[in-house]
């Protein structure tokens, strides 16, 4: 798309180059040859665990099997047991909701910071960028330990500040004990860790938005919000879609943050998300078959949630 193209939100016509016919595409083997290395690596890295998982999900595979006893085939027992368990569905629903809220908040926060970065002077921007980079590069367990201390019931700084500085009654308040409050803390931690990535990616995209288009829009009488919505967003849409998809995938399979917070407090059963639940089924309780089946179901769900997004992404790329 050239800078002079008039901005329109409807689809840009695909014309320009002659359409490649299906027959012509099939005659060229090169693209397929080029796919081989990537596919090969994927099969090498994921193939065996994936096959093993599928096999296990149809077996009664517990601790005894882990230590060498033959596994018994049980057909779809594992799947029917999970699918008829209302607690499993509760966790699935909880995870999807948690993922959407977190991905949404992260995107809003990241885009806002990116916009802020385009407006502030260079020294201030550099300070902000370094701070974001540090937050993002910090190893999860190290920063989680600090978050845990901040929200500690007896000695936490958060309780101290709310009680002594704001005069609220947060003395010995247990932040993790109510599931909603637990998820609030988890959301704060997760957004803190993932906003920097979104901010950097979107900021990079924003620097590519041509100034003259925005200026033309301004001359035509578009206000700030309109320029953002009708000019900037469509131009950086591919980046937004990719980053958004990554956030959704990451937040759906979130594990470390929840696992560490569960260790610090809270009621485990009321705070499980998909990741920690599968871990408990498999590694902690030794029901590897059941855990494998649960992972299988979740894989299908993830693909389901992601599919719509990927399609949107592919269509967007076609348009460009």
């Amino acid at each position: 798309m050239s800078a002079a193209t008039p901005v329109s939100t409807s689809a840009v016509p695909t014309g320009g180059r002659p359409p490649i016919t299906a027959a012509r595409r099939r005659r060229r083997p090169m693209p397929y040859l080029l796919l081989i290395p990537a596919t090969g690596f994927l099969v090498l890295a994921l193939g065996y665990p994936l096959i093993r998982q599928v096999v296990m999900s149809f077996q009664e595979y517990g601790l005894a099997q882990q230590f060498g006893q033959p596994a018994e085939w049980t057909g779809i027992d594992n799947f029917s047991r999970l699918l008829s368990d209302s607690y499993f569905w509760l966790i699935v629903a909880r995870s999807i909701l948690f993922c959407l809220v977190n991905a949404g908040l992260t995107m809003v926060g990241g885009i806002s910071l990116a916009l802020l970065m385009t407006r502030i002077s260079t020294p201030v921007r550099l300070v902000l960028q370094v701070a974001l980079l540090l937050a993002w590069a910090m190893p999860h367990l190290a920063s989680l330990t600090v978050w845990q201390w901040l929200f500690d019931t007896n000695y936490g700084v958060v309780n101290y500040a709310l009680t002594n500085w704001l005069g609220l009654d947060f003395d010995n308040h247990a932040w993790l004990i109510q599931p909603l409050s637990f998820y609030f803390v988890a959301t704060v931690v997760i957004c803190w860790m993932s906003v920097p990535f979104v901010a950097f990616a979107v900021y990079a995209a924003l620097t590519q938005v041509p100034g003259d288009v925005l200026e033309a829009g301004e001359i035509d009488g578009a206000n700030g919000w309109q320029r953002f919505r009708l000019i900037t967003v469509p131009l950086i849409k591919p980046v937004l879609l990719i980053v958004g998809l990554l956030q959704i995938i990451w937040d759906l399979k979130v594990f470390t943050q929840i696992f560490v917070l569960q260790d610090a407090g809270g009621i485990t059963r009321d705070t499980h998300l998909i990741g920690t639940y599968v871990y408990q089924l498999g590694i902690k309780e030794g029901n590897f078959g059941l855990a494998a089946a649960a992972s299988g179901i979740i894989l299908v769900l993830t693909v389901g949630v992601g599919f719509h997004y990927v399609r949107l992404l592919v269509r967007q790329e076609d348009e460009l």
Binding site: F67, G68, Q69, D152, N154, A174, D263, G265, T268
Partner: protein, 435 residues
């Protein structure tokens, strides 16, 4: 420290990866001595590098140094590496490591309540009757031998035992004008009095964090209840029985006077102790040493200088507290079983076990109990151990701990939930996990 447990896990993972890299052929190696050995030869096992896992800080550094030095001296050419694992997440690490011939440590310490699960699935190398006799036979602590026995075969032997005792602040007792309690009712009253006497909102007469089921279970047992009971071939959760409910009433009262985190656990309880926030603390005997430690504790402060100790009283004599301690076993996948057995012999030797006794733990052999220093802490520990009980001997008990059913249950009670409803839910969860 949580961080430390993850560090340990990370290090363990790194070691595991490193072990994968080796491309020796261990099976062929271990076959060799058998085929070449002349009959009557003094079967000295082939030198090798052994790995031993010990958990947490229960085995002090001097004891580890002694073990390494003595083992390497007795088995020239062999080396011993001791890797410390954290108790938190131990079941997961044992599950993944013990099953692999290349990753497994040769000898492992396992918590006595975790021992039945791993013994039953065949994770440990079974010992012959002669070997058990050589290791101590009937002198070994019977409850622990039972925990390490499956189908009549012993594979995990006791390492040490240590039941919790109650530490109390003599100065705070004096200030509040209370005496050392001799019955459970008095104990609860003293706890309530101490909490009322303090103006610190973090202070607990009896320190009782919500997730501390290992202490809470003593009150259920004292009232005649239990966590689960065997009914024919199946196990059933037993928290809803009238006896258990009576015990839970005591638990509720004690939660009410405690200002410990309602969803916290009992790990690192010496931090609030050193902060003058505890009147009475139920902890293993070695906690005394931690409080006196210049790095971890607070020597030369009132909290360290005014410590008294007693065994938790029940309705009639000492209460049945949870029998703590460890078993030790050879991994079934160990590539050097003979050498590992030599190490096991050394671990159960009088010299090594006597050192546990000197450190305030009950040694694996009954005959060595006399080695324990004659002091207040050890006297209380021996009194407590006399009545101590084990968690239900169900094969799948580790699942109950893995799913944190009891932690969730007691946190629910600590936050003022409906005890009858919570008990019914927990019973259902326990029954499902055990069968």
């Amino acid at each position: 420290m949580r961080q430390a447990s993850f560090l340990a896990a990370g290090i363990a993972a790194a070691l595991v990866l490193a072990a994968c890299g080796g491309d020796e052929d261990p099976v062929a190696e271990s076959d060799e001595p058998d085929s070449t050995e002349a009959p009557g030869d003094d079967a000295a096992p082939e030198p090798a590098d052994l790995r031993l896992w010990v958990n947490g800080g229960d085995t002090p550094q001097e004891m580890r140094d002694w073990l390494i030095a003595t083992f390497e001296e007795q088995n020239p050419g062999s080396t011993l590496t001791i890797e410390e694992q954290s108790w938190e997440g131990l079941v997961e690490r044992l599950t993944t490591s013990l099953a692999s011939p290349t990753e497994t440590p040769d000898v492992v310490e396992v918590g006595n309540t975790q021992a039945p699960t791993f013994t039953n699935v065949g994770a440990f190398l079974p010992l012959t009757d002669d070997q058990v006799a050589e290791l101590g036979g009937s002198d070994l602590l019977p409850g622990f031998v039972e925990a390490g026995t499956a189908n009549g075969q012993v594979s995990a032997v006791p390492l040490y035992a240590g039941s919790k005792v109650v530490f109390y602040r003599t100065d705070l007792f004096e200030d509040a004008g209370v005496e050392v309690p001799s019955t459970l009712d008095e104990f609860v009253e003293v706890a309530e009095t101490l909490t009322e006497a303090s103006d610190d909102s973090n202070f607990s007469g009896f320190y009782f964090p919500g997730a501390d089921w290992r202490n809470a279970v003593a009150f259920i047992w004292d009232a005649g209840g239990d966590l689960a009971v065997q009914n024919g071939d199946t196990w059933e959760g037993a928290l809803s029985t009238p006896e258990s409910q009576a015990g839970l009433e005591v638990v509720q009262r004690l939660f009410a006077q405690s200002n410990a985190a309602k969803d916290g656990d009992e790990a690192e309880s010496w931090i609030p102790w050193c902060n003058d926030e505890i009147g009475m603390l139920s902890a293993p005997g070695w906690a005394y040493g931690v409080i006196q430690d210049p790095d971890a504790g607070c020597p030369d402060t009132p909290a360290a200088e005014n410590i008294g100790v007693f065994a938790l009283p029940g309705q009639d004599g000492p209460a049945p507290v949870l029998l703590g301690g460890s078993n030790v076993a050879i991994s079934a996948q160990s590539q050097h079983p003979e050498l590992a057995y030599e190490l096991l012999k050394l671990i159960l030797s009088e010299e090594f076990q006597a050192q546990y006794a000197q450190n305030g733990l009950t040694p694996a052999k009954i005959s060595l109990t006399s080695e324990m220093e004659d002091n207040e802490t050890n006297a209380a520990a021996i009194a407590a151990a006399a009545e101590a009980k084990l968690t239900p001997a169900a094969e799948n008990w580790a699942s109950v701990e893995g799913a944190r059913i009891l932690e969730d249950f007691f946190i629910g009670i600590a936050t003022g939930g409906d005890v009858v409803q919570l008990s019914a839910d927990a019973d259902a969860a326990i029954t499902e996990a055990l069968n």
